[in-house]
Symmetry: C2
Subunit: 188 residues, 2 copies
Amino acid sequence: MSGRTLQAAVRGVYVVPEGQVASQAVPRLSLSFAGAEGDRHTGLTRPSGSREPWYPRGTEMRNERQLSILSEEEMAEVATGLGIAALPAEWIGGNLLLAGIAHLTQLPPRSILMFPSGAAVRIDGDNGPCRISGRSIAAQTGQPEHEFAFVKAAENRRGLVGWVEREGTIAPGDSVKIRVWDQHAFAG
Amino acid sequence: MSGRTLQAAVRGVYVVPEGQVASQAVPRLSLSFAGAEGDRHTGLTRPSGSREPWYPRGTEMRNERQLSILSEEEMAEVATGLGIAALPAEWIGGNLLLAGIAHLTQLPPRSILMFPSGAAVRIDGDNGPCRISGRSIAAQTGQPEHEFAFVKAAENRRGLVGWVEREGTIAPGDSVKIRVWDQHAFAG
């Protein structure tokens, strides 16, 4: 692995309680190989959903979507697109809010986020904006049109999903070292 | 996920016994979320090694390298590069030999191999050729120079590594449906 190294900072950490879409700020994330302690997406496996139409819904599959990772810079752009002052990470169920990487959503799969505790998160890839998050925003703003507007405004800015490569904790203020995977084009 | 779909065929399936580098042909691979039954690389986690110099050697990390996936076409090219008639998948510890994809090694991360049993393997990405495999070839051919020659000849032709996304079995003769992940360039 020969890629570049980038630096970022952790602005906030959050977990999504059972049965909810929005996340809540916590003092720290405790990461096991199953994901973040106390988050409803935690599990070594997960049931398939609408993002995997090629499997019968509810099929048990390995969980590569343990964590939702957002960029402060991109969230500000999405807020502008929606005509609101700010888009808190909690509204769209973020687990980890980073600052310092302008186009975080484009970070290549296989890249690694490394934290001072030793915790490491492997990037599966970019997250696609969905109407469920849009509805969560609309419920906060009281503007129903935000359900669809979010899907458009957040295209290529919805952050990343990833899984725990190495256990540990993450807290606001932590520095993040990012190993950028050096990807190749597919010739077909 | 909007990428293309490709078709391939399974030519052979293999497991690597404990303590060995070479694999042995088996009638079928039984895949659990930990990997292939009876293979020494099987595990939900693995100890880090020389491929992860950023971790202390032996660090427990999630195992994204459960399976080694090879292309019949690429193996023929590597054999030509080494000046030998054929390079059996077993010599370099392959688990799965596919035919029908010319540049399998370049398949993007996040692509999925889907098998008739329902088994699915998620591609972590390309595998880097190493001297350990080169030594295994040299032991078979009796030509010590093959240890280094393999690393050069197999560049961008060493196949893929991946992990079990959905449990099931794979057998020679199976068709493989490949969902190619549609990747983006990283603007930085």
